[in-house]
């Protein structure tokens, strides 16, 4: 890449007389970079890079699948330990044909959504209360900051003692897990609003509730939605944990039964379904953010 300048003839012609000889002494400093949108080689290279990126994204997982399948065919891995992709696909079809998956998914999703709704709402309200009122901060912030350091999984045995092993205990686990991301982000969002904006609102005679409604909440919304996205992710994580507690239905039940019958193919299907739920949740949350925050530039940094 010695002669990048060839793409920008005008600039080259003007900078050339500055030095005699064929190579500018300060070449490094004044070397031209082509930023024009349709400059031949750079753009073709860009296209190429794009296609290479796509090919790698699709190709590498396919190669892994192929190696996986081959190692099974060649007898390198015992199918009871790691069944080949074909066997896993067969197990997936089996679950669908029997209707197990269709029955389990709504049950599990409901658990996670109910927990998220309760925990998310509680976290939101606590965050608003602590963010907007000093009293709220004094009451809630210290205890919540302390509780947040406890991994919620460590609480599961205690919850079983307190709430038993029914549906209720499962919802409590998910609720407990989702409160904190929601609380922390809401609180930080409200506190992060530029005091200059609040002062401006004051000069225009906005009442406190108007200031909250028209200035603080809209400006804090991005942070609240980040909290919701995290909480939704955590609700799935908590679902997996909660469904280890004596599940009679749902994805966890399928996994438990498969575990007892030593069906690693079904266990892997279950894990993949959890993963798919996670990806879907993230996509939905990002779409929601784009819809709710039309004023934000489309540069995602988080």
């Amino acid at each position: 890449m010695t002669d990048i300048a060839a793409n920008a003839p005008g600039l080259q012609a003007r900078s050339a007389p500055a030095v005699s000889g064929d190579r500018p002494r300060d070449g490094g400093r004044f070397a031209l970079v082509d930023l024009s949108p349709i400059a031949g080689s750079a753009s073709r290279f860009g296209h190429l890079a794009q296609w290479r990126g796509r090919a790698l994204r699709v190709g590498v997982p396919l190669l892994i699948l192929l190696a996986w399948q081959l190692s099974s065919w060649l007898g390198l891995v015992a199918p009871e330990v790691l069944p080949p992709p074909t066997a896993i696909y067969a197990a997936f079809v089996e679950l669908i044909v029997h209707g197990d998956l269709q029955e389990a998914l709504p049950v599990s999703l409901t658990r996670s959504l109910v927990g998220l709704a309760i925990g998310g709402t509680a976290g939101l309200l606590l965050g608003l209360f602590a963010g907007l009122w000093r009293t709220g901060e004094e009451i809630f912030d210290a205890p919540l900051q302390m509780l947040r350091t406890i991994p919620f999984i460590a609480l599961v045995p205690l919850f079983i003692v307190w709430f038993g092993i029914d549906e209720f205990a499962k919802i409590v686990v998910i609720t407990a897990a989702t409160i904190f991301p929601m609380y922390l982000n809401t609180y930080a969002g409200v506190r992060g609003v530029d005091p200059k904006l609040i002062e401006a609102a004051r000069t225009f005679d906005l009442s406190r509730s108007q200031t909250i409604l028209h200035v603080i909440l809209p400006v804090a919304l991005p942070s609240v939605l980040v909290g919701l996205r995290y909480a939704a992710g955590v609700s799935l994580l908590a679902l997996v944990v909660a469904e280890q507690i004596n599940a009679h239905s749902g994805l966890g039940y399928i996994l438990n039964v498969a575990n007892m019958n030593q069906r690693s193919d079904i266990i892997i299907v279950g894990i993949l379904v959890y993963a798919a739920l996670g990806i879907t949740t993230d996509l939905v949350m990002r779409a929601l953010e784009r819809l709710a925050l039309p004023w934000r530039p489309n540069i995602a940094l988080d």
Binding site: E199, A200, T203, F204, D205, V215, V219, W295
Partner: protein, 250 residues
């Protein structure tokens, strides 16, 4: 020290918009404002000059009601608007919603659109603040300040961050809007020319009180090349303690 409330009353003189007497504001040991008297007539345009840190913003914040005085009497109109050095628009609200902040509905939108039309931003009613240039955003702030027809308009170096050409256009705009709405105006600025161009009266703060209070008698439209303009500028600069080191171009 007795804390003095801002009295939101029509100032006592029938033609006065602002009456301050003996106003003090103390930070720590230092009295930034030390017994300030000031009367501004209705519709009068005054400019406040003074070196950095002399308390211009402090005075403006007292007049706006954003800060409390430590002593003295302050009478100001009930409706006051502020344009700060930076536009302070709510990024999550469209331009028109910023103008009529706190209100909703078709009537509010019509008023906002009319105010934006006045500052030459009729085409940006529905835009997001992020998409505006610095000068446009400051004009929105001006529209937002004027839409509530204030008795007192407070401007804290509103053009300081703008380029020279935009600033000239903003001067014309402010004069035009002032003639139409006729609020009393307090303009804080560092720019002596700007003060002479716009104001009826130029004051300067020094050491907590007025070091200078001059009426500008030059007829408008004022012109920087007018000898009277240059004479007043020279006098103001001398009183502010600045001696011109570069001979003026002739």
């Amino acid at each position: 020290m007795p804390s003095t409330d801002l009295h939101i009353l029509a100032a006592s003189g029938p033609r006065d918009a602002v009456e301050l007497s003996g106003v003090r504001r103390v930070f720590g040991e230092r009295a930034v404002l030390d017994g300030i008297d000031l009367t501004i007539r209705r519709g009068e345009f005054i400019a406040v000059l003074g070196p950095s840190g002399t308390g211009k913003t402090t005075l403006l914040r007292l007049l706006a009601g954003l800060d409390k005085a430590d002593g003295g009497r302050l009478l100001v109109p009930k409706t006051r608007s502020v344009v700060f050095q930076e536009p302070r628009l709510i990024p999550a609200r469209r331009v028109w919603e910023n103008v009529v902040l706190g209100r909703r509905g078709a009537q509010a939108r019509r008023e906002a659109a009319a105010a934006l039309e006045e500052v030459g931003l009729g085409a940006h009613v529905d835009a997001w603040p992020r998409t505006l240039s610095g000068g446009e955003a400051q004009r929105v702030a001006l529209a937002r300040a004027l839409v509530r027809e204030p008795g007192l308009l407070l401007l804290d170096e509103p053009f300081a961050a703008l380029d020279a050409l935009t600033r000239i256009r903003m001067h014309d705009l402010v004069l035009q809007l002032w003639r139409r709405h006729h609020p009393a105006v307090v303009l804080v600025t560092h720019d002596v020319d700007e003060a002479i161009l716009l104001a009826d009266r130029v004051l300067a703060l020094s050491n907590g009180s007025w070091g200078l209070d001059e009426r500008v008698e030059i007829k408008s439209p004022r012109d920087r090349s007018d000898p009277a303009f240059a004479a007043l500028r020279g006098r103001l600069l001398a009183e502010l303690g600045v001696r011109p080191t570069i001979a003026p171009l002739q």
